[in-house]
Symmetry: C2
Subunit: 107 residues, 2 copies
Protein backbone atom coordinates (compact mmCIF):
# COMPACT_ATOMS: atom_id res chain seq x y z
CA UNK A 1 0.00 0.00 0.00
CA UNK A 2 1.16 3.52 -0.75
CA UNK A 3 1.82 5.28 2.57
CA UNK A 4 -0.63 8.06 3.44
CA UNK A 5 1.85 10.71 4.44
CA UNK A 6 0.98 14.28 5.50
CA UNK A 7 1.77 17.50 3.67
CA UNK A 8 5.53 17.87 3.12
CA UNK A 9 8.06 18.47 4.54
CA UNK A 10 8.56 15.21 6.42
CA UNK A 11 11.37 12.66 6.44
CA UNK A 12 12.08 9.35 4.71
CA UNK A 13 14.57 6.56 5.38
CA UNK A 14 15.36 4.59 2.22
CA UNK A 15 16.76 1.19 3.22
CA UNK A 16 18.04 -0.80 0.22
CA UNK A 17 19.36 -4.30 0.87
CA UNK A 18 20.56 -7.52 -0.69
CA UNK A 19 19.63 -10.68 1.20
CA UNK A 20 21.88 -13.64 1.79
CA UNK A 21 20.15 -16.98 1.14
CA UNK A 22 20.29 -17.76 4.85
CA UNK A 23 17.72 -18.06 7.56
CA UNK A 24 14.57 -17.15 5.62
CA UNK A 25 12.02 -17.94 8.35
CA UNK A 26 13.79 -16.06 11.12
CA UNK A 27 14.33 -13.15 8.77
CA UNK A 28 10.65 -13.02 7.82
CA UNK A 29 9.62 -13.21 11.49
CA UNK A 30 11.98 -10.40 12.44
CA UNK A 31 10.87 -8.25 9.50
CA UNK A 32 7.24 -8.55 10.65
CA UNK A 33 8.20 -7.77 14.24
CA UNK A 34 10.22 -4.71 13.22
CA UNK A 35 7.41 -3.42 11.00
CA UNK A 36 4.98 -3.66 13.93
CA UNK A 37 7.45 -2.10 16.36
CA UNK A 38 8.34 0.77 13.99
CA UNK A 39 4.63 1.59 13.66
CA UNK A 40 4.46 2.12 17.45
CA UNK A 41 7.34 4.62 17.55
CA UNK A 42 6.74 8.33 18.07
CA UNK A 43 6.78 10.27 14.82
CA UNK A 44 6.12 7.23 12.58
CA UNK A 45 4.12 8.12 9.46
CA UNK A 46 4.10 4.95 7.37
CA UNK A 47 6.14 2.43 5.40
CA UNK A 48 6.40 1.03 1.86
CA UNK A 49 8.30 -2.12 0.99
CA UNK A 50 9.07 -4.32 -2.02
CA UNK A 51 11.69 -6.96 -2.85
CA UNK A 52 12.90 -8.75 -6.01
CA UNK A 53 16.63 -8.81 -6.67
CA UNK A 54 17.02 -6.08 -4.11
CA UNK A 55 14.75 -5.04 -1.28
CA UNK A 56 13.64 -1.45 -0.81
CA UNK A 57 11.90 -0.36 2.37
CA UNK A 58 11.02 3.30 2.76
CA UNK A 59 9.81 4.43 6.17
CA UNK A 60 8.38 7.91 6.73
CA UNK A 61 8.85 10.03 9.84
CA UNK A 62 7.87 13.41 11.27
CA UNK A 63 11.42 14.46 12.16
CA UNK A 64 15.09 13.52 12.21
CA UNK A 65 14.73 13.03 15.98
CA UNK A 66 12.08 10.37 15.41
CA UNK A 67 14.43 8.58 12.96
CA UNK A 68 17.31 8.75 15.45
CA UNK A 69 15.08 7.38 18.21
CA UNK A 70 14.00 4.41 16.08
CA UNK A 71 17.58 3.72 14.97
CA UNK A 72 18.62 3.45 18.64
CA UNK A 73 15.60 1.40 19.83
CA UNK A 74 16.89 -1.66 21.72
CA UNK A 75 15.15 -4.47 19.80
CA UNK A 76 15.88 -2.70 16.53
CA UNK A 77 19.60 -2.59 17.43
CA UNK A 78 19.53 -6.38 17.81
CA UNK A 79 17.80 -6.73 14.43
CA UNK A 80 20.40 -4.46 12.82
CA UNK A 81 23.21 -6.60 14.24
CA UNK A 82 21.59 -9.84 13.00
CA UNK A 83 21.15 -8.15 9.64
CA UNK A 84 24.88 -7.57 9.35
CA UNK A 85 25.81 -11.00 10.70
CA UNK A 86 23.34 -13.18 8.80
CA UNK A 87 20.66 -11.70 6.61
CA UNK A 88 22.22 -9.08 4.37
CA UNK A 89 25.21 -9.30 2.07
CA UNK A 90 24.97 -5.53 1.62
CA UNK A 91 22.70 -2.63 2.51
CA UNK A 92 22.53 1.12 2.30
CA UNK A 93 20.50 3.48 4.46
CA UNK A 94 19.69 6.98 3.22
CA UNK A 95 18.11 9.58 5.48
CA UNK A 96 16.14 12.13 3.45
CA UNK A 97 13.97 15.20 3.78
CA UNK A 98 10.89 14.94 1.57
CA UNK A 99 10.65 18.41 0.06
CA UNK A 100 7.55 17.93 -2.09
CA UNK A 101 5.26 15.17 -3.24
CA UNK A 102 2.37 14.61 -5.61
CA UNK A 103 0.31 11.65 -6.66
CA UNK A 104 -2.42 10.13 -8.77
CA UNK A 105 -5.31 7.81 -8.03
CA UNK A 106 -7.56 6.25 -10.68
CA UNK A 107 -11.21 7.16 -10.16
CA UNK B 1 21.91 -3.53 -7.40
CA UNK B 2 22.40 -0.92 -4.71
CA UNK B 3 23.10 2.42 -6.42
CA UNK B 4 26.65 3.74 -5.99
CA UNK B 5 25.83 7.30 -5.01
CA UNK B 6 28.38 9.99 -4.10
CA UNK B 7 28.90 11.63 -0.72
CA UNK B 8 25.69 13.32 0.46
CA UNK B 9 23.93 15.68 -0.04
CA UNK B 10 22.28 14.61 -3.27
CA UNK B 11 18.63 14.09 -4.26
CA UNK B 12 16.26 11.15 -4.51
CA UNK B 13 12.89 10.67 -6.20
CA UNK B 14 10.85 7.93 -4.53
CA UNK B 15 8.20 6.71 -7.00
CA UNK B 16 5.74 4.28 -5.40
CA UNK B 17 3.08 2.76 -7.64
CA UNK B 18 0.32 0.19 -7.91
CA UNK B 19 -0.04 -1.44 -11.33
CA UNK B 20 -3.27 -2.19 -13.09
CA UNK B 21 -3.36 -5.69 -14.61
CA UNK B 22 -3.31 -4.20 -18.11
CA UNK B 23 -0.79 -4.12 -20.88
CA UNK B 24 2.10 -5.98 -19.23
CA UNK B 25 4.38 -6.20 -22.28
CA UNK B 26 4.06 -2.57 -23.31
CA UNK B 27 4.59 -1.54 -19.71
CA UNK B 28 7.75 -3.64 -19.39
CA UNK B 29 9.10 -2.26 -22.67
CA UNK B 30 8.44 1.34 -21.60
CA UNK B 31 9.97 0.74 -18.16
CA UNK B 32 13.19 -0.52 -19.80
CA UNK B 33 13.22 2.41 -22.20
CA UNK B 34 12.69 4.96 -19.43
CA UNK B 35 15.44 3.38 -17.29
CA UNK B 36 17.88 3.67 -20.20
CA UNK B 37 16.77 7.21 -21.01
CA UNK B 38 16.97 8.38 -17.38
CA UNK B 39 20.54 7.09 -17.20
CA UNK B 40 21.48 9.44 -20.06
CA UNK B 41 20.11 12.56 -18.40
CA UNK B 42 22.41 15.22 -16.91
CA UNK B 43 22.79 14.83 -13.16
CA UNK B 44 21.66 11.18 -13.04
CA UNK B 45 23.37 9.21 -10.27
CA UNK B 46 21.63 5.83 -10.25
CA UNK B 47 18.41 3.90 -9.66
CA UNK B 48 17.04 1.13 -7.46
CA UNK B 49 13.79 -0.71 -8.16
CA UNK B 50 11.68 -3.53 -6.74
CA UNK B 51 8.05 -4.64 -7.09
CA UNK B 52 5.72 -7.06 -5.28
CA UNK B 53 2.29 -5.74 -4.22
CA UNK B 54 3.60 -2.26 -4.81
CA UNK B 55 6.48 -1.04 -6.91
CA UNK B 56 9.16 1.25 -5.53
CA UNK B 57 11.64 2.94 -7.84
CA UNK B 58 14.14 5.33 -6.31
CA UNK B 59 16.22 7.41 -8.70
CA UNK B 60 19.13 9.54 -7.51
CA UNK B 61 20.14 12.93 -8.88
CA UNK B 62 22.74 15.63 -8.36
CA UNK B 63 20.26 18.49 -8.03
CA UNK B 64 16.61 19.53 -8.04
CA UNK B 65 17.25 21.04 -11.47
CA UNK B 66 18.27 17.64 -12.83
CA UNK B 67 15.04 16.14 -11.43
CA UNK B 68 12.94 18.91 -12.98
CA UNK B 69 14.68 18.42 -16.32
CA UNK B 70 13.96 14.66 -16.32
CA UNK B 71 10.34 15.21 -15.25
CA UNK B 72 9.84 17.48 -18.30
CA UNK B 73 11.73 15.29 -20.84
CA UNK B 74 9.46 14.74 -23.85
CA UNK B 75 9.42 10.92 -24.04
CA UNK B 76 9.12 10.76 -20.28
CA UNK B 77 6.04 13.01 -20.40
CA UNK B 78 4.41 10.51 -22.78
CA UNK B 79 5.30 7.65 -20.42
CA UNK B 80 3.81 9.58 -17.48
CA UNK B 81 0.58 10.12 -19.39
CA UNK B 82 0.34 6.42 -20.36
CA UNK B 83 1.02 5.59 -16.73
CA UNK B 84 -2.04 7.56 -15.65
CA UNK B 85 -4.22 6.29 -18.49
CA UNK B 86 -3.33 2.59 -18.45
CA UNK B 87 -0.62 1.23 -16.21
CA UNK B 88 -1.11 2.58 -12.70
CA UNK B 89 -4.18 2.55 -10.49
CA UNK B 90 -2.29 4.86 -8.11
CA UNK B 91 1.13 6.35 -7.62
CA UNK B 92 2.97 8.82 -5.44
CA UNK B 93 6.16 10.71 -6.25
CA UNK B 94 8.28 12.14 -3.46
CA UNK B 95 11.18 14.48 -4.15
CA UNK B 96 13.78 14.29 -1.38
CA UNK B 97 17.12 15.66 -0.30
CA UNK B 98 19.39 12.86 0.94
CA UNK B 99 20.96 14.39 4.02
CA UNK B 100 23.15 11.48 5.09
CA UNK B 101 23.75 7.85 4.25
CA UNK B 102 25.69 4.85 5.48
CA UNK B 103 26.03 1.26 4.46
CA UNK B 104 27.39 -2.21 4.98
CA UNK B 105 28.96 -4.78 2.71
CA UNK B 106 29.84 -8.33 3.71
CA UNK B 107 33.52 -9.09 3.21
Amino acid sequence: MIAKTPKSPYYAVIFTSIRTDEDAQNYADMASLMAALAAEQPGYLGVESARNDIGITVSYWESLEAIQHWKAQADHLIAQQMGREKWYSAYKTRVCKVERDYGFEQV
